[in-house]
Symmetry: C2
Subunit: 336 residues, 2 copies
């Protein structure tokens, strides 16, 4: 067993080292922003994206110090997107701590501005890490092409996600499309392809077959946790998805088996900033009793199975096969 998860500590150390090199010689507001970006990036992450990048690299090469060092770029990419997301969603908490635009002590406008720019800095660093890594320039170029594709897909997914609540009738397909674009690409497919490119691996279609269904399964799990999860473990209020009016598979399924009045209630709670506990519990009960939770679990399972069944085509290496199965299990069985 490759036991990639054992590299988590090494990844954390490399992240710390990277930020410390950036902090060297800085003072004043530059130092403060970098410190905050460092804390935001380092705390609470499960490092799944770096591990998927390393797994992608292993499709065509053996593990090296260099690929572990480079894999931290995914955590910078993640910070870039989460920070912008938190501003867009007006979220106050992330990973049990204030979101980045909430940590500064100027006025609201300046605090948000600093967060937007700190995220942009994370994006520049994410590129810098890859550009300075010790791989052939041709492979780095290919890896960056995959990175930009992941960024583009995620942005398109975000655009659709943000405007879903305004589009009237939302279908299962449009929710799945958002999951594919917004989550699967940058969480699994992009990271694996970046790693695969660095080892000169070319067969990107085979990665799609594993990464896309797994990414969708992961997002369904995320949405389930967003309603039924444990607030203490998640580090953010469970009500927040509902308050943001997020349209998920759970919501779509709930419409198939509820009365008109129940649907009206669900719609009235979605996007309401001050949902009471009573309303939220009733909402959860309807999602459960309508069978929507079971259907979402089933759909998740079916995407998960699709991903698992693609593994034998992706690699002949029994250890890597086992590892890809292990990572997939981690993604869908998590409670945080």
């Amino acid at each position: 067993m490759l036991n990639l998860i054992s590299y988590k500590q090494k990844i954390d150390e490399e992240l710390k080292k990277f930020f410390d090199s950036k902090l060297d010689g800085k003072d004043g507001i530059e130092k403060e922003v970098l410190e905050q970006l460092k804390d935001f990036t380092i705390r609470g992450g499960k490092r799944m994206r770096p591990l998927f990048m390393i797994a992608g690299y292993l499709l065509n090469a053996d593990i090296t110090e260099e690929i572990i060092k480079a894999s931290i770029l995914l955590e910078l990419m993640q910070s870039y997107m989460l920070i912008h997301d938190d501003i867009i969603d007006e979220s106050d908490l992330r990973r049990g701590f204030p979101t980045l635009h909430k940590v500064f002590k100027f006025n609201k406008k300046t605090n948000e501005g600093l967060a937007i720019i700190a995220a942009d800095l994370a994006n520049a660093y994410c590129h810098e890490i890859l550009l300075r890594a010790n791989f052939p320039s041709e492979n780095i170029r290919n890896a960056l092409v995959e990175m930009e594709k992941a960024y583009e897909a995620t942005a398109i997914g975000e655009i659709n996600d943000m405007t879903l609540p305004f589009t009237g009738k939302v279908s299962l397909d449009s929710v799945t499309k958002v999951h594919r674009m917004k989550t699967a690409e940058y969480t699994i497919n992009g990271p694996m392809k970046i790693g695969a490119s660095l080892s000169g691996y070319k067969n990107m279609d085979l990665i799609d077959e594993y990464a896309i269904p797994l990414g969708i399964a992961f997002q369904i799990q995320d949405d389930i946790l967003g309603v039924f999860g444990d607030e203490q473990i998640l580090g953010k209020p469970v009500k927040s998805d509902v308050q943001e009016g997020k349209i998920t598979h759970l919501i779509i399924f709930s419409r198939q088996n509820t009365s008109k009045i129940e649907q009206m209630f669900i719609n009235s709670v979605l996007g309401k900033r001050d949902v009471t506990d009573e309303e939220f519990n009733q909402f959860k009960e309807l999602i459960r009793s309508s069978g929507a939770l079971d259907k979402a679990e089933e759909l998740k399972k079916s995407y998960y199975n699709q991903a698992i069944s693609s593994i034998p085509r992706l690699t002949e290496d029994p250890e890597l096969r086992e590892e890809l199965k292990f990572l997939a299990d981690k993604m869908v069985s998590r409670n945080t």
Copy 2:
């Protein structure tokens, strides 16, 4: 004479072609966002950054179709930064048209969210254009290193700029540092170095000597126009710099030759959202009568001269020398 400015039309055409290829097959909200990003990017630009990139390339190679095509990436980089800037500054107008977060018709939160993400998309495209251009991978890698350096410097400059008004006593040096980081890097130095890297040019220090003082001169001119410019020509309200409380060389100089009460008046106007015409005219009069305008013009001239005097070291080609002088003149003598 190379007459680089004559390529402006070709650059516009390439920009249009790029967006049309992205728009191909899109519909709904994705199409709308891309159309808006296209309009925002194409209208009103003087294309100076692409021209500086081409000039950088010419330090070590002859002009080709490919470098002109690639140079449009600077306009995407510019859109990325302007859009985030406009959100941070809460600006309503840019280039005589609504800023990007003002063109969408959802709610404020969604409109701003779409603008943040459209900017992030522009950033991915800026990288994509370079990655797909027909140059050796090694040169592209070096060009991207320069791009990330420019992004990093600009972000650090922005962070300082945003927080200057909170730092009490602001010095001439700290304003100049912001100009160097925020403007010189991404307007002139970064573009030239990206172009130079693509042609395999290595002597980056010589580019600094031209680009950094020129960038500072350009920003001083920009700040002068931000107070004394013609609103019709600028396409944005001239009061906006004052309303944003921007600390410029003009402000610093005005403090050297005004009475306590005059300084208090200047401070009271800076950052005031509802500056009256009478207040604004009095403010302009003080900047002028204190000699601050003349001093800023002199400082601009001295940075400009510094840039010009570096040209002979940068290249031996008389045509390119003339061109670099021409571009420098354009940057500091503009009225828009």
